[in-house]
Amino acid sequence: MTTQLSHLKALESESIHIFREVAAEFEKPVLLFSGGKDSAVMLRLAEKAFWPAKIPFPVMHIDTGQNFDEALDYRDRRVAELGIKLIVASVQDSIDSGRAIEETGPKASRNRLQTVTLLDAITDNGFDAVFGGGRRDEEKARAKERVYSFRDEFGQWDPKNQRPELWNLYNGRHRKGEHIRIFPLSNWTELDVWQYVADDEVELPSLYYAHRREVFRRDGMLLAVSPHVTVMEGEEPEEMMVRFRTVGDASCTGAVASSATTVEQVILEVAASRLTERGETRADDRISEAGMEDRKREGYF
């Protein structure tokens, strides 16, 4: 009998260890859940970590009010299946109460406003550990972030003053009002996530697979025509086969042209994307900008 774990099982085990460690050591954890693929995998790992008991903490959605219906349906279905509590923190409420100022104009997005809503929700609920789906392969600054990422009373991250992380020993000590962001997927890559979705048959919103949709081009991205975006002059909506690589706020989540209707086909596209997706994101600054936005969309951080 083998005593060697595959790389995916090793990553899974590491993530489960992190979930359990947090549940054991913190008073009030919460898992951020957007309905995106990373948070879908996070929820699956949390489910495994505490099976056959229920997940011992709630999930929270930072709701911009500009969602894809498919993502909301998926969110509500998963929460009901798992029998866990869902907290919806609304960006609209933050705007109505004057805590956040809405952007204006045809390119307005509520992406950045989410931070205000998130930090208020953490304070109001007294959360001391906040699970996010961020991965170190996403972005260069994230390559340096810890699994346990300390945030001060203002929710700030100080990259120059991070606690060293050795072996599998995590230091979650903090004072009241401070909290720790927890990243169980730190060592996963985009391809690992997709392979896990395939191996473990993780259900995702249909948005992640190729479907016909009316889209138009803006800043090198394909945006879906929806009530949440204003199509400007010169932008020509057309129906195409597309899928989404990330799922977040409908006003700023771009699609990619794709014919991948199954998870196996998506994996092939992701593995080969070094060749195909370049053309669409030619300008270098756009790559990093898009990466940053992906990150905010997927992990809110």
Partner: protein
């Protein structure tokens, strides 16, 4: 596909970033647009060659902000293995970075510049790798192009490093002549080194045998969390959740529960959704016991005839990370496996000079980046093994109780029972 974690160590100029950039490029982890940008920047700056170090940048912007002192993690995969690189840049907080990267590494990659040979820093990296029990060490003799791919120069460096490494605790030492800049012996064999018959760096990383590095002998299971569903479907379920530290656990095995000292048998082992026939490191599982015992987080399962030492007195090597020095008499928080305690430093035995390996007695304190031997007494018993034998039950961190920072990493040398 297997996972291999390795740590790279070096200073700014020895070509470490270039070597990582080369591996990422040649294993096709790099977007073409990123490469074009790097080529353009290299041309603009008047370099003769494409500067692959720019590929692992962001670093550059981070450098300007002063955060290069930190470990960065990078990822690449070949059809054979997935690799996690802990990239530990050199100068400030070098001990902290290297120790952190090495703590989870299967292999350490140390670079030397062929022109400069083995520097004190290269020796320090080898010492830390040895101290952290990284079993495999690769010395990449880089910039071979600048010494005309001279075999004699390569041999000279290997010999000097071997002499030093003989004093250390390293199982497997490999030497590879490379040019990270030009790609010689990184992924493909170089026509410039016909005298070198060993593997390329990537081939070595893909094939080095790590299967026997884990301890599969001493069964150790730190209880992390107690799973009690209290639901209709699983009314009496009580699973002890944790990650196997070492050894193999199977249903029917007799286990010793620490600290209570009770023995019982394993009724079953579960992963999500169902039972498994065995659990080995690093699996995360639930273990069910045949009898209802009082077991909680911080307890440990072992075997009646093979148990860790239960003790409040620990001797250990400490790597110190804080600007506030470690001194005898001070009290720190301790995290060891899933157990937390407090510890008083009883004695600072010596400070280790990592360049000469000399033990300096009568030191009043350990300063930041120092390594030394201490003895400490903990508020509750810990269940420990020698770090050389067990990286999980032999390691701990020290936490400053005022700032809550992680200030030290400890590797247990010996423990006296009681």
């Amino acid at each position: 596909m297997e996972l291999l974690r390795f740590a790279t160590a070096g200073s700014v100029d020895d070509g470490k970033s270039t070597l990582i950039g080369r591996m990422l490029l040649e294993t096709k982890q790099i977007f073409e647009d990123q490469l074009e940008a790097v080529e353009r920047t290299s041309r603009d700056k008047g370099f003769d060659y494409t500067n692959l170090a720019l590929l692992t940048d962001g670093l550059r912007a981070e450098r300007e902000q002063g955060i290069t002192i930190d470990v960065a993690y990078r990822y690449f995969a070949t059809p054979r293995r997935k690799f996690i690189i802990a990239d530990t840049p050199g100068h400030i907080q070098y001990t902290r970075n290297m120790v952190t990267g090495a703590s989870t590494a299967d292999l350490a990659l140390v670079l030397v510049d062929a022109r400069k040979g083995v520097l004190e820093q290269s020796k320090r990296h080898a010492v830390i790798a040895s101290l952290l029990q990284v079993r495999h060490l690769v010395l990449c003799v880089n910039k071979m192009d600048l010494v005309e791919f001279d075999e004699a120069r390569f041999d000279e460096i290997c010999e000097e490093f071997s002499d030093f490494a003989a004093k250390l605790d390293i199982d497997d030492l490999a030497f590879i002549p490379v040019s990270a800049l030009l790609g010689d012996n990184v992924v493909t064999h170089s026509p410039n080194t016909p005298w070198y018959e060993g593997p390329t760096l990537l081939h070595h990383l893909e094939h080095v045998y790590i299967g026997s590095d884990r301890n599969l002998i001493d069964a150790r299971f730190p209880v992390q969390y107690v799973v009690r569903p209290m639901s209709h479907d699983h009314h009496d379920y009580r699973g002890y959740a944790g990650q196997v530290a070492s050894g193999i656990f199977r249903p029917g095995d007799e286990v010793l529960v620490l600290p209570s000292g009770f023995t019982t048998t394993i009724a079953g082992i579960d992963e999500h959704g169902g039972p498994v026939e065995q659990a080995y490191p690093p699996m995360s599982v639930n273990i069910r016991l045949a009898e209802e015992l009082d077991v909680s987080r911080g307890d440990m399962f072992a075997r009646p005839n093979n148990a860790p030492t239960v003790t409040q007195d620990v001797d250990a090597m400490i790597c110190w990370f804080s600007e506030r020095p470690l001194q005898a008499g001070q009290i720190y928080g301790v995290k060891h496996t899933t157990r937390t305690a407090r510890a008083r430093i009883q004695e600072l035995n010596y400070r280790l000079d990592v360049n000469s390996l000399h033990r300096e007695d009568d030191q009043p304190a350990l300063a930041m980046n120092d390594i030394g031997r201490i003895s400490m007494r903990t508020t509750v018993p810990l269940f420990v093994d020698e770090y050389r034998r067990n990286r999980i039950t032999g390691s701990f961190i020290l936490i400053d109780e005022g700032t809550f920072e992680t200030v030290g990493a400890g590797m247990i040398l010996a423990a006296s029972a009681g």
